[in-house]
């Protein structure tokens, strides 16, 4: 079974702090994704990566950056956290077969910025 893990289930940070969210997958998947989920909006793509050190912006990249130094690990970075970044953050991975891929999700991190 594919396993995608995220470093924290719940996280509370203060405005202006630098925040790191970590995601690890154990199935040698090529693609990894970061989404945020807000009520009534579904999931929105922040960034994705299709290879080590390769990344592409998603629909809402402002205020975020990412890092993928190893194939299995994809980090989401909030350079200076703000209250409007309070949200549920979900990481996913997919094999890399292209547009027909199935995505597998981690358990999510609920981030609160005070």
């Amino acid at each position: 079974d594919v396993k995608v893990t995220q470093s924290s289930r719940y996280l509370v940070k203060r405005t202006g702090e630098k925040v790191f969210l970590e995601c690890v997958q154990d199935m040698d998947h090529e693609n990894m994704f970061w989404y945020r989920q807000d009520p009534g909006l579904g999931l929105r793509l922040i960034y994705f990566s299709y290879d080590v050190k390769m990344k592409e912006k998603g629909d809402i990249p402002e205020g975020y950056s990412v890092s993928r130094e190893k194939k299995e690990r994809f980090s989401l970075i909030l350079e200076s956290a703000s209250t409007n970044q309070t949200s549920m953050y979900l990481c996913a991975s997919s094999p890399g077969a292209g547009s027909t891929d199935t995505q597998y999700f981690g358990p999510g991190t609920r981030l609160t910025v005070l």
């Binding site: 909006l41 579904g42 027909t100 891929d101 199935t102 995505q103 999700f105 999510g108």
Partner: protein
């Protein structure tokens, strides 16, 4: 980009009832997936179904690609079916399988 609309936004069912969830999309797709998010936040892939019909136990799904909609059927619902159901699609022009999600249908199954 492609638009995804799900209906109804909320659904309350009594245990044992059947229901149908709908997903409309605005353009052609070659990837359509249904997910269930349980009350603890975990998303589980239910179906990969860009066209045709599939069944998995009490759940089944049908996608009519030419008419740009997909249906998810829940039969003999159980309390464990509660959660949010998402439809997500990807157009043929996308090379990476990036998914566009609908807003979801919140389902509550009461005993």
């Amino acid at each position: 980009g492609i638009q995804v609309e799900q209906s109804p936004p909320d659904l309350i069912l009594q245990e044992g009832a059947n229901s149908t969830l709908r997903c409309n999309f605005s353009d052609s797709v070659n990837n359509l997936q249904w997910f269930h998010q349980n009350p603890w936040g975990q998303l589980i892939n239910l179906f990969y179904i860009p066209s045709g019909t599939k069944q998995n136990g009490r759940l089944s799904a049908t996608t009519v690609a030419t008419e740009r909609y997909s249906l998810l059927y829940i039969s003999s619902s159980q309390t464990t079916d509660s959660g949010v159901y998402f439809c997500a699609v990807s157009p043929p022009t996308d090379s990476w399988g990036k998914l566009q999600f609908g807003a979801g249908t919140q389902v509550v199954v009461t005993p």
